[in-house]
Subunit: 339 residues, 6 copies
Amino acid sequence: MKRAACFGEIMMRLNPIGYQRFLQAKEFEASFAGGEANAAVSLANYGVKSSFITKVPAHEIGQCAVNELRRFGVDTSKIVRGGDRLGVYFVEKGASQRASKVIYDRAGSAISEAQPSDFNWPAILEHEDWLHFTGITPALSDSAAQITLEALQCAKELGIYVSCDLNFRKKLWNSEKAGRVMGNLMQYVNLCIANEEDAADVFGIHAEGSDLTKGVLNREGYISVAKQLKGLFGFDLVAITLRESLSASINNWSGMLFDGQAYFAANYPIHIVDRVGGGDSFGGALIYALLEKYGKQRAIDFAVAASCLKHTIEHDFNMASIQEIEALAGGNASGRVQR
Amino acid sequence: MKRAACFGEIMMRLNPIGYQRFLQAKEFEASFAGGEANAAVSLANYGVKSSFITKVPAHEIGQCAVNELRRFGVDTSKIVRGGDRLGVYFVEKGASQRASKVIYDRAGSAISEAQPSDFNWPAILEHEDWLHFTGITPALSDSAAQITLEALQCAKELGIYVSCDLNFRKKLWNSEKAGRVMGNLMQYVNLCIANEEDAADVFGIHAEGSDLTKGVLNREGYISVAKQLKGLFGFDLVAITLRESLSASINNWSGMLFDGQAYFAANYPIHIVDRVGGGDSFGGALIYALLEKYGKQRAIDFAVAASCLKHTIEHDFNMASIQEIEALAGGNASGRVQR
Amino acid sequence: MKRAACFGEIMMRLNPIGYQRFLQAKEFEASFAGGEANAAVSLANYGVKSSFITKVPAHEIGQCAVNELRRFGVDTSKIVRGGDRLGVYFVEKGASQRASKVIYDRAGSAISEAQPSDFNWPAILEHEDWLHFTGITPALSDSAAQITLEALQCAKELGIYVSCDLNFRKKLWNSEKAGRVMGNLMQYVNLCIANEEDAADVFGIHAEGSDLTKGVLNREGYISVAKQLKGLFGFDLVAITLRESLSASINNWSGMLFDGQAYFAANYPIHIVDRVGGGDSFGGALIYALLEKYGKQRAIDFAVAASCLKHTIEHDFNMASIQEIEALAGGNASGRVQR
Amino acid sequence: MKRAACFGEIMMRLNPIGYQRFLQAKEFEASFAGGEANAAVSLANYGVKSSFITKVPAHEIGQCAVNELRRFGVDTSKIVRGGDRLGVYFVEKGASQRASKVIYDRAGSAISEAQPSDFNWPAILEHEDWLHFTGITPALSDSAAQITLEALQCAKELGIYVSCDLNFRKKLWNSEKAGRVMGNLMQYVNLCIANEEDAADVFGIHAEGSDLTKGVLNREGYISVAKQLKGLFGFDLVAITLRESLSASINNWSGMLFDGQAYFAANYPIHIVDRVGGGDSFGGALIYALLEKYGKQRAIDFAVAASCLKHTIEHDFNMASIQEIEALAGGNASGRVQR
Amino acid sequence: MKRAACFGEIMMRLNPIGYQRFLQAKEFEASFAGGEANAAVSLANYGVKSSFITKVPAHEIGQCAVNELRRFGVDTSKIVRGGDRLGVYFVEKGASQRASKVIYDRAGSAISEAQPSDFNWPAILEHEDWLHFTGITPALSDSAAQITLEALQCAKELGIYVSCDLNFRKKLWNSEKAGRVMGNLMQYVNLCIANEEDAADVFGIHAEGSDLTKGVLNREGYISVAKQLKGLFGFDLVAITLRESLSASINNWSGMLFDGQAYFAANYPIHIVDRVGGGDSFGGALIYALLEKYGKQRAIDFAVAASCLKHTIEHDFNMASIQEIEALAGGNASGRVQR
Amino acid sequence: MKRAACFGEIMMRLNPIGYQRFLQAKEFEASFAGGEANAAVSLANYGVKSSFITKVPAHEIGQCAVNELRRFGVDTSKIVRGGDRLGVYFVEKGASQRASKVIYDRAGSAISEAQPSDFNWPAILEHEDWLHFTGITPALSDSAAQITLEALQCAKELGIYVSCDLNFRKKLWNSEKAGRVMGNLMQYVNLCIANEEDAADVFGIHAEGSDLTKGVLNREGYISVAKQLKGLFGFDLVAITLRESLSASINNWSGMLFDGQAYFAANYPIHIVDRVGGGDSFGGALIYALLEKYGKQRAIDFAVAASCLKHTIEHDFNMASIQEIEALAGGNASGRVQR
């Protein structure tokens, strides 16, 4: 069985029930999520020996986060306990012309205040085949960036394959700092995952012919972005997700894998249940497919089908099974009842 | 007032709330349902003196099933009490490309272990005008098949009109056995209700030109199936439901009644709330329309409009009123608020 | 800061959870709503000093209504306390071909039995810039009609701008009486808000070329209605909402402002979350825009965008912010997540 | 099987969830209840052929009330449909020193505005063995009082045994009118059920030695009240419930039956789940016991045990089974798990 | 009408539903609370013109806190908007031998990072009669302590009566720092509210003869504490709450007011619904009673009865009415249903 | 770290919300539980490397059971997947005089139909220090009894300490068969856990002087039972739980450990939240204490305090922490809020 480690933050996600706005909520559903934690759960669902590395407080709320990862089969034995608080984020589900809204409350979280000495990377990564992180983690704090760097250096020494989802968060840092810090980390990365906005925000890479606010898909533009990313940092692979946002209720969703050649997956029109975590589920599925030595086309088909299904599932974690994903990737999108 | 009896199983249906997957659920909504029970409730809603015949355990969970039938006006006085358990089934609601999922847990239920001596059919059917069952009931067990046979024979003697919804369940039996057992029962049936898959699965009847996985509607194909069914068993009437599954969220829905001539209803594009029980609601509405001597075209229009509305209603029972159905069948599909 | 007063009824709204029908409900969500109360909340949300005038019982259920208004920033200090009951209305949410349903239980409410002596209009309206009411209020009872008349006369004396949403309710009165009573009140009204049905039901004003049951939009028809209304009563402005009801799940929504010249807003296709209160949110937003001296085109754009967003929000009150409305009015309908 | 009819009002009961106060509630549990309806459900639970007589609106909310009665086995075929509204009452559950609170909103209900011509008593009561009503029904309106009178006269002619629970409601009428109207009805009553307050409020009958605000039980006082009631109206039987209210969470509960001789039941200390409907469950159980010819001591033991258990059950209807009641009446109050 | 201002923090309170532990929760009830905010709501409930002073973020979660205060009639117009986050605290309800648990997550909250320049005290306090704060506020941060000091100095200049609830929080500071900071503030305080632990933790004041872990009440000990407090700082009044914790489900509750002479209220045995906010409700009620010039005995009776009732009410805010409090203070603790 | 394995059944537990009866429930809370699974979760909570051995179906409902165990840290890697169904049991919570009710629906479950060949005991038990089972497991079926026997024989060979909770279930087998099967298994058992009823039902061992229906505790009787059990089967240790059931709301709870000498723990009066799983939590805690080499008195004190706390926690799993248990065992039962 393959092994993969994901490093990053896990937060408590609080969302009002159904389509209630924050201003109407008297109850919040509590789940636990984070870019890399979402990927870790996907990997465990697919049967990968998946472990998640972070730091969470020693109190019960921290334990809840650990428990939720365990529930879905993620190895939590390497999670460091300590620090003051678990990050929180609030999600309000949009509909039609009303956009979903996310309010982050993650400053001062245990992982953002963790120190390099908290993590003994050679021991943590000893048996791993893959290490995954996102651009959110080094954005949390300078110490988090330093820890990330040490993790990557250790991974390189151990010959571990590294993937990174650029995932730019403008609330955490600006493009200038992101470009500088992330630019330095990219030398250790084998697979780079991005969407068009990330590439522009972090590295100033733009493609012609697409206007995101209009949500127009443009294959040539995406290839152009991937080519530039690969050229700049020498990635083995670049993967790009393609979202066409018709409204908060209906999106078109696809993706591309690029190794010099571009492999495009089918484009799915989605009635959205919950789109948060969609990109992370793409990353988790792609890592699985590559760990399992799927061919490039099959890998991107799997990753896009998996993340398509995530949009139909509440909360961040992707609960789609391999069987369901393969069926969709194989062309069965009819949604007929399975008895 | 007309009287109709439905014979079959009633189960506890457990579904997670909203679009939660089984793996996420901490609470289940409990309702009670079953192919024939669903039809019985439809009939009671339309004002037919509807009774339901089954066997349920003497404990409180069995009583809950009885109570739910009573709540909607079904006569439960002929239900036999005893046996060990009430069947259960779990329903997970799909969305977009993610299919709904049903897990049955019905083995060993009171009705599946009932014996012919439990039912005194001449007394049960004494005043009835109609008897309805589905292909699920004889599939439950050999004794259930035997009880069904005795019910049909009794109905024939009493001159009661008999309808059967083929409703093939591959988890309960295989096509070979289904064909044999159902083939023997068909001689007592006046109205046969099916969808294209059932006809193929139970009797090996196929139509050219339709591909269900693509969900393509083909009028000629449906007529071909109905003709073959009628030819084989001499039914007075064959009714076929037509579902085009665009996704788990959007279906097209229609139906056809065939007495030598084919009567097609309008085709409704549906935003689905809960599609389980859709076929049963078609059967219930059609029986009502025929009991009330609607003309063929009006009957199929009523049945298809009724079952279209069922898809917008949670749980299996169809809570649409005659007035609402007639309005829709009459062409008002605008969904404007009724004040 | 501008000030506006709304006069009318506030009721307890009870709706089953999600898409449950009345016949299935064991719990009801309780919110508080009413045509003018909804507008008052919109105004407070936009920063107007908004007050609501009504009469509610002195008991806790009445207090709940007051509290809900206070929660959203409405001044409730002029609400009269007393009378026997708070009106109630039940809402069942429709889907697809199944229409939403509203059952009113408002007879005998405190405001419908209030007496003119309950309201000291010169004191109530002393500092106000605007007075808003709807055709529901004078329909409640003869005394409510009399109170409304006195309010309008006082407003006129104080030079307060008056708006009226015609809002015909056939359960409260018939067209003949509505036409007579409302006809008398219109002389005090500056801005008249209506939909095509209201104009026909209250004043017998029809437009050619539109068939509401088919939901077909016809710009010329709407202009014709506005012109007739303006001609008949000398309104400064007429605003008309344009709803094309494709189903209970999907509506097209737009609106027009008319001052001799017609200003049309964009037409929004909406996936509906809750459409009750949609018209009231149009009124509230339009009043705000006019109080703030928006130009005519910008005012109707704002009002239609605001009420478009209301359709994506549970319950009657419009919780959309100015920022969200301006973004939509400015053309961003992509519903992309706001982080 | 014995038959009993109960005549009165059924309302929608709305209560916040758990211990929330009205001022905190965003959802209400909806159940259906009323003094006589509660008794009718008890009777059906015990296997009596129980029917309920009332008038409810023809709309869905009225149908919900009918359905809830049917659910628990009550015959609703004699319920008159029509009128404007179903009465509503709001219940807030108390705890410890905080009392439960009930707000009635029943004015203008269908039954309170029903006319004598709505009820054909000879047909309604034709096969009945027992007729039950409470002092609430004649208090609803003069026409309701007149209908009650006609029902009682008819019962007398048919030789039907009549029971009445005095149930004084000061919000509906005052003692003077209650005494006059009820005094006239008592000639038709065989069994009178009361608590000490009712006897005082309706007929001015007082007992020495008990102070209700202190909740002190006094056996002699209760006997004195029963004796006076029996003496005044010639009842066959008088039953009195004895509540000692230590707090909203803990009550002592007992009862007495009096036929010249006094039969006291055990006194139960109760941890209260929901005490509304406690008295009605006493009445329902007592009627059952007397219909079944229980001896006097066994009858009062059964009635008190039944109503003790009601206090542990949510909402008004008593869901305790005969088996549970007999076990408690037989002395097993240990509450050990039944597996 | 009297006016009072409360200054401090308001947080989002998140608690699992019912008796669920943190480790079991999938949903949290969200309310808003804080020592001084709780008192402000009590004051508004009693009809005082109550305003709350704090700083909350400009985003929707901050607005929710504002809205909840407005809902209960608190003036929020002086609340400063800005900063990064709203403090959060998690509450797990205990039962029997299992204690309730509170986890604070308030570091970095807007109020704890607020600066003195955020508050213009002369303008804020201009029309106030009373200023209330607790020992939590100066404990939040040095700047919060400085702001508190400036508020108190301004209050003194304006002749405003000042109350302080000592409320020691060991998670926020230690006794040494608390003693130093609070000691300096006490010169501005007229009414000091404390429990025995606070007096010991903040000022090292102990009473003989009481052992809190055993929860034994000792009147002499409380008087001794009050005397020492008054002696040390020259308070006009000292109020002490007396809690005897028999278990998490049952507490005895009383209080004392001391002006040289000791006034004890009744001692209430309470079945606890939610005890968080109990002390704050005592403070709010006492302030009201003193503002309204109640006599000392009546004031402490009112405050203890009010806070007794708070223990029967979910969440921190006390929703008891003056009428209910007076009834309990007057001796009616029977909890009989109020109809 | 110590290791312990528990072998038995895990079921889906379905209970209505709060105090609702089965007949009232429209939703059920779903948790997962079973005598040995409950103990396994306790052990994991205390930090033991705890694994659970069973067989569950390969479908999602089976996966839910696995996930819930993983969530609380139990090793599920040795669980066999397959079979038809997961057992279900329904729990209705009692209150006051109304007993809790359990309806089992476990016939045909995967574990009851498992075969000896499904379990490779030498591999399963290879590294274990302890094996725990209850009398429920061999009662499930003859094959389950055979599997249990093989597990015990293997444990003996490997020198693993074995504990058994007698746990007689009269719905699964009768005393005669239980005595025969269990009698044969007892030779492998080191620690026997029982309550007085179990000893009587399984082995016909009675003690004088206690009457369970009266719930009277009698120390001498319990010692007598323990002595007889130890004498008959040569157990190292016998542990007995002592429950005095005052009502469904209040129980007294204690326990005794016997190794020739009797060690009694404190007796706790409990306000019950959920008493199902109370005995299992005693077993889990006792195993932990003995694995950790607590002295006898400390071990029984820990086990009784742990299981006392379980009664205050919803669902079967004991979520009490070691710290909480030690605090209670140390004498702090005041339930004061932990901040």
